[in-house]
Symmetry: C2
Subunit: 407 residues, 2 copies
């Protein structure tokens, strides 16, 4: 029924089909740039810092005036005028003089080091006693140490984090050219699907995927567009998919998992022409009945109808597509180190995703399995994350160290 591919091959195909996808750019104010992706390299147009700064509260000196100084034999320098943070000092510091500078303060012209105040004595006699020697550059950040005018401060295709926003502020950059958010259509299909506000009757089930996928898209800085629930009709599904392909960068069709419904989704996708479907079935559990296609240059997913399966397909492959469309490298995945409290056999040749609940026991974190029949999304509410059992593994044995990926 399926010509199933493994996860690695699917990611390779996604890169092959969608690398180089063209995203429009937009300018956003710095304060709204968190999580956005830079469109181009960003250059600085000024030295940071713009002057030689002290990193401590202390006395700016000519380093050589302190050579050999110790508590037993301090170097005695004349006190120059006090310098306040933010004040511009044009005068040169004469040889044999010391000038007070606070943390962040500008050094007087041709001073080359700062002695921390803790290593000095001011007896009020117009002299400062240096109990320690310093070398040139000690306790000083030179002009341009942080970045020089013309440097690239942030590269293209960087997802902006708070530290990056801070760096851009330091460079006086108040707006940023970023890629437009990826517009992603969510279409729920199936005669059995009911809206969340409908009263349930008969064998109807609620539309879960529109909401969980909407949230997952928001979490990844995409712009979800909910197209609602479409009944099992070739014409109706095709009409909505055509709209979505016109308006969005990515189309996610969440269908029934039964063979008949899957077939209809496939027919709709293939009706838009080549190259069409290039993945039909993935060797992961849950999530096998997944379709990935390229239609009118855009990725189209046929997600499994089961909410848990659809969620894992999102985490692994839709996220991957978002990164490829955005031209962003996959990040190093972070996880929580834990020890399993269970034997979990797994030997059907599929990469398996097992939800777990975490518990702190002494200095260790213990992972308990949350056994969810596929589709039981409410059982996931008690799970903190999941472990991945790779295709070749025969499962995990109790007490084994595992990496738990947080939800």
């Amino acid at each position: 029924m399926f010509s199933v591919k493994d996860a690695k091959e699917v990611k390779r195909l996604i890169a092959e089909y969608f690398e180089g996808y063209k995203m429009d750019f937009q300018e956003v104010p710095l304060e709204n740039s968190l999580g956005r992706i830079t469109a181009k390299d960003i250059f600085v147009s000024e030295d940071i810092p713009g002057f030689d700064r002290s990193t401590v509260d202390g006395y700016a000196v000519h380093a050589k005036d302190t050579f050999g100084a110790s508590e037993a034999l301090p170097a005695i320098l004349s006190l120059s005028a006090e310098i306040k943070v933010g004040e511009d000092i044009l005068r040169e510091l004469p040889i044999g003089y010391a000038a007070y500078v606070p943390t962040g303060g500008k050094l007087p012209q041709n001073a080359d080091a700062v002695v921390m105040i803790e290593y000095t004595d001011d007896l009020g006699d117009g002299f400062i006693y240096m109990n320690k020697s310093v070398s040139a550059g000690n306790n000083v950040i030179y002009r341009g140490d942080d970045a020089k005018s013309g440097d690239v401060i942030i590269k293209a295709n960087t997802t902006l984090k708070p530290k990056d926003v801070g760096a851009l502020a330091a460079a006086g950059i108040s707006s940023v050219l970023v890629k437009r958010r990826i517009k992603a259509a969510i279409i729920s299909t199936g005669d059995e699907i009911a809206g969340i506000e409908e009263s349930l009757s008969g064998s109807k089930v609620r539309d879960v995927n529109s909401y969980s996928i909407n949230a997952a898209l928001l979490e990844h800085s995409a712009e979800p567009c909910m197209y609602g629930i479409v009944p099992d009709s070739y014409e109706k599904i095709r009409e909505v998919v055509a709209h979505a392909l016109h308006d969005c960068d990515l189309v996610l069709i969440s269908g029934g998992s039964s063979v008949g419904t899957l077939d209809m989704t496939c027919k709709v996708i293939e009706s838009f022409g080549k190259p069409g479907i290039f993945v039909h079935g993935i060797a992961i559990k849950p999530g096998k009945p997944t379709i990935i296609a390229k239609v009118m240059g855009k990725p189209v997913f046929g997600l499994p109808g089961h909410p848990v399966s659809a969620y894992f397909i999102f985490k692994v492959f839709v996220k991957n597509v978002l990164n490829v469309l955005n031209g962003v490298k996959e990040e190093f995945e972070s996880s929580i180190k834990a020890y399993t409290a269970f034997n979990f056999p797994s030997n059907d040749g599929r990469e398996e995703y097992v939800p777990v609940r975490l518990e702190r026991v002494g200095s260790r974190i213990i992972a308990h399995p949350v056994f969810a029949k596929s589709g039981l999304i409410t059982t996931l509410t008690t799970a903190d994350g999941y472990i991945i059992i790779s295709r070749g593994d025969e499962g995990v044995v109790s007490g084994k160290e595992v990496e738990v990926i947080p939800f």
Copy 2:
């Protein structure tokens, strides 16, 4: 100068001073609930699923009709009408009959198991040949298996993730009572601080913290309010802090790091009365000159002026305060397992935060230090995360396994 406290003691004090902080509630539509914190336990008012469902494409049967069936000796059952997903079946399945059900379909009355289609033969003669026996419950999710009417589906004080949003949709819950976002004031003080759009002159430096802290607050679902740059004047700072205390839940003052400026921040904070400052200096590096106070029942931080220090104080302590105000438990911290490419001595009795850049070398991830003089925020742009060297450790040696916390 400082009566320095360690990180653990600071967190204990934060809990002591701010646990039980009252947050108002608000109702939000489910599609906007990602990252919000539930105000109360959420109950379900219907069984999920609302009927006995098949988890596979196959034939609903009375399990006992299949006992002993094998490929050599199939159980032969009469074919009943086909059941479509979403269709309500009121008729009982007679003994000796099988009815086709697709994945997700409702079982006929008193059928108790489903035989996967792969284990059956339909020769078109009105009978279905079962090549495998099933037990009651096989391939079936019973009504209420996922959640029963009256169950708590999500507990109070839960930060909603996509999986939780999905579970709420499954329960037909279209709006959620959540805590209001924490309003956090950001005040930048210092005569030397220039706005990001000003042209720099003399020894002025740009306002970095307003932007990096703004982004960090957004990342943690808080609502930042930027109060701009206030000069080093007791009266002016006091006036702005008074406004901020009136309008916000949390006040973050980013001041100069020099002793004089710190003193002024302290005086302003103490002028609002008891209990006032309860942390004055933390044994972490960078970030030592940090003030934490309780003023008019609200937390007030005096953050270090150095952007890198302020950022780490945010990650460790402001985030902690946000969790305490929200009544949320600290999450299990996730990290990236890496091996250091360096010896890094650290023995001054402070918990140290060392930014690192990550590189994949074969199957290992190598962590390279990003040596940043305190305050050089642009060097952080090349860092992927940081490692924590705890207070008792003497540093890390090259090749050691470390946990890298991603930025």
